[in-house]
């Protein structure tokens, strides 16, 4: 029996006024696997991620995330998704611990403190757990965004540019989070410009161009030349 993919996107269109940010994307991503979403700036990766996170409603098309329809059940989608946005993603005058507390309580997590502490330590944020994030460096903010996405062990983990401006130890910790999520059977979608890291973290790759999917393949098949050719 074939398992239903955790993420199913059919003919997704997202329009902001006159601009069509996503024009007819189709993709599927399975549980227990990590899929890289690649493409140039403006290819529609981040907008697709936002639709999958329940932040932006699809203009048309069908989007199902862990069985929840993103168009009609955004709240259900938010419960099962952990999302690290591409930019910022943190409330400037709240502390990391307050971010974790809010996220955990709204998801009805019981004993979350130990896991929160472990994740903060793993990402070397334990010392600043009670400082407001407004004073954080870009890399620290990115690391905390990954921690927040992973805290509740979501069924679908969406990481949008998680390596951007992050030091090697942070990259390592992020790769561990992806591996852990795959190991417990979660579906991971990872959007990045860094092909090498995408290949290291993911087994499959999807390339978007101009708001469309132009290729889906095993990550190992995506050589530098092949990727370059798909971008042009």
């Amino acid at each position: 029996m074939t398992q239903t993919p955790a993420v199913v996107v059919r003919d997704l269109h997202v329009r902001f006024g006159d601009v069509e940010a996503v024009s007819g994307v189709d993709l599927t991503a399975d549980s227990g696997r990590a899929t890289a979403l690649l493409g140039r700036n403006g290819a529609g990766k981040s907008t697709t991620m936002k639709v999958l996170a329940g932040v932006v409603p699809p203009t048309s098309g069908a989007v199902t995330v862990a069985g929840h329809d993103a168009a009609t059940d955004a709240l259900g989608v938010k419960r099962v998704v952990g999302y690290c946005p591409d930019v910022g993603g943190l409330v400037p005058r709240a502390t990391p611990w307050e971010h974790l507390q809010l996220s955990a309580r709204l998801r009805r997590m019981g004993d979350w403190e130990q896991r929160g502490r472990d994740l903060l330590e793993r990402f070397e944020l334990g010392d600043v757990a009670h400082r407001v994030v407004g004073g954080f460096s870009h890399g620290m903010s990115r690391r905390l965004s990954v921690v927040l996405a992973a805290l509740h062990e979501p069924a679908v983990l969406l990481l949008d540019e998680p390596f951007d401006g992050v030091d090697p130890l942070g990259v390592e910790a992020t790769l561990e989070v992806v591996a852990d999520a795959r190991a417990r059977g979660a579906c991971v979608l990872l959007s990045t410009h860094l092909r090498d890291l995408a290949l290291e973290a993911c087994g499959e790759a999807i390339v978007l161009r101009g708001g469309n999917r132009v290729a889906a393949m095993e990550a190992a098949e995506l050589t530098g030349e092949a990727y370059r050719a798909l971008l042009d």
Partner: protein
């Protein structure tokens, strides 16, 4: 014949003077470039032009219209007493404007900025340019506008028609001088604030100033002290044929204020902003999740987060304290009667809303996207944000009312009902308006600096004008109701106002609940 040493000294002095002149000319040119850049980013140009025309027209109306009023034509001892009080306190009103200019500049960390700190970081913008920019932006402030209109109106009321023009020239010259002086003081205080232990020093000195004013008032000496200020001479001269002298003196003082203010500006801007840095690196120990007796724990948690976003911001905290205490102290010290006090809750509520409420979602900054991924209903998010905005407005205006109560004692029943009804109406009115604006026109802003504003300056000017107009007209209506013998009338009149504003608030909420509208707000505020 001059010696060679004299010639060298002259050349050095000339070179230095030329360099200073160049600095000012460069700064003026750069300010022009920045203003033009900001002007090009105005979204609704026609609305902006209409706003400027309305402000100028209102200024003209306030400067001329009250002149036709003859208190003798109204055979009322109350009106005669009020008129005599206004005439006697004109010098104090001039001093009040100066106090406001200083408070506004001190409260906003030296003055507003033409470009936000992060935007300006990559450009070679000199402190003199920053200083000139702050001076230009000083009028885009609700309290500044209202006080200026008040000053024009009162002067028109008390000046004889043949001296009206001269008196209003004096008022305008005073407004310029007070603004320039206030700006210089604001930069100096900001400089002190940025030194080690400067925050403490500013708080102690500020407390002492307030305590002295209150002490003088309680001892019955304040009136004499204020009467001895040079503003009494300015106010008196304005109403005579000697007004050109007053204008010349004031314009000279304004020029001196502008030039001198550049010094503390350069000093302050060269120091690290300690208070902001302290807040950014401040430790806030974890507190257990709230377990409210009433209401949902989710809402309580959201409320805590939103309140933290307000009170951990240096600018908002400072603004709320200034708005809470400033007008109340004016009411206390200047001895405003209930008729005038009625105007204050609306204006302070509007001022509080202008700190962040007009763009309420900007509290979350770029964290708005993350907030939107939380599994909590959009209705809860809206309700909690509206409550926090309302809390800030009610707090500021409430302090004003309480301080007025201390000054005037319990009012007659009809006045008391009118004050409470008016307070409720203006808070709900402003809340409905600003929540509508927050959804219709969101902006991405970084409020970490106290010099930042929650919306572009042109928009802020429009917001300030509209809020002050609406709340002032409402307050005037309720002031009029106090002459009636029936205490129930103000409460009944409040009902349609509250109903209309509630309807508007519900409409804004409905708009927020629409997924695509909410997504637009989220993406705009987070600038992604």
């Amino acid at each position: 014949m001059p010696s060679s040493t004299d010639i060298r000294t002259d050349i050095r002095t000339d070179t230095r003077t030329d360099a200073r002149l160049d600095t000012w000319l460069d700064a003026a040119r750069d300010t022009g470039h920045l203003v033009a850049f900001r002007a090009r980013t105005v979204r609704r140009r026609r609305a902006g032009a209409v706003g400027v025309v309305v402000v100028l027209a209102l200024s003209l109306v306030f400067a001329v219209a009250p002149s036709g009023f003859d208190p003798a034509s109204v055979d009322s001892p109350t009106v005669a007493r009020a008129f005599a009080s206004i005439r006697g306190n004109l010098g104090a009103t001039f001093a009040g404007f100066l106090l406001l200019a200083v408070a506004a500049s001190v409260g906003s960390g030296g003055g507003r900025e033409l470009l936000s700190r992060s935007e300006a970081a990559v450009h070679p913008i000199s402190p003199v340019t920053e200083h000139l920019g702050a001076l230009l932006l000083a009028p885009l402030n609700l309290a500044w506008l209202v006080q200026m209109w008040g000053l024009l109106a009162i002067t028109a009321l008390v000046a004889s028609p043949e001296h009206l023009l001269g008196a209003q020239f004096v008022v305008l010259a005073w407004v310029l001088a007070a603004t320039a002086f206030g700006q210089a003081v604001g930069w100096a205080v900001e400089g002190v604030r940025r030194t080690a232990r400067g925050v403490l020093a500013v708080r102690v000195v500020g407390g002492l100033v307030v305590a002295t004013l209150v002490g003088l008032h309680l001892a019955g000496h304040l009136g004499r002290v204020v009467g001895a200020l040079p503003t009494t001479w300015v106010a008196a001269t304005a109403q005579t044929s000697g007004w050109p002298l007053a204008v010349l003196v004031l314009l000279g003082l304004a020029a001196v204020g502008v030039v001198v203010g550049a010094r503390p500006a350069a000093w302050a801007l060269g120091l690290p902003p300690r208070e902001e840095l302290r807040v950014q690196s401040g430790v806030h120990e974890a507190r257990p999740a709230p377990e409210p007796r009433w209401g949902s724990p989710d809402r309580a948690l959201l409320r805590r987060l939103d309140r933290g976003s307000v009170w951990r911001s240096v600018g908002m905290r400072r603004g709320l304290l200034t708005l809470g205490l400033g007008p109340g102290l004016v009411a206390l010290v200047a001895g405003l009667e209930w008729g005038s006090v009625m105007l204050l809750p609306g204006l302070t509520a509007s001022g509080a809303a202008l700190l962040f409420g007009v763009n309420a979602w900007c509290l979350d900054g770029k964290g708005m996207v993350w907030r939107e991924t939380l599994p909590v209903s959009a209705a809860d998010v809206f309700d909690v944000r509206a409550l926090v905005v309302a809390e800030c407005m009610a707090l500021c205006s409430g302090v004003t009312v309480v301080l007025a109560l201390l000054r005037n004692g319990l009012p007659p029943l009809v006045t008391g009902v009118a004050v409470l009804s008016c307070w409720l109406v203006v808070v709900v009115q402003v809340l409905a308006i600003v929540m509508t604006w927050s959804i219709r026109s969101p902006y991405s802003v970084d409020l970490s600096s106290p010099r930042a504003t929650p919306a572009p300056h042109a928009a802020m000017a429009g917001y300030a004008g509209r809020l002050s107009l609406v709340t002032t007209l409402t307050a005037m209506l309720f002031t009029g109701l106090t002459v009636l013998p029936w205490a129930w009338v103000p409460a009944v009149v409040a009902v349609p106002f509250v109903a209309w504003s509630s309807r508007r608030l519900v409409r804004a909420r409905r708009r927020w609940l629409a997924d695509d509208e909410r997504a637009r707000v989220v993406l705009t505020v987070a600038a992604v």
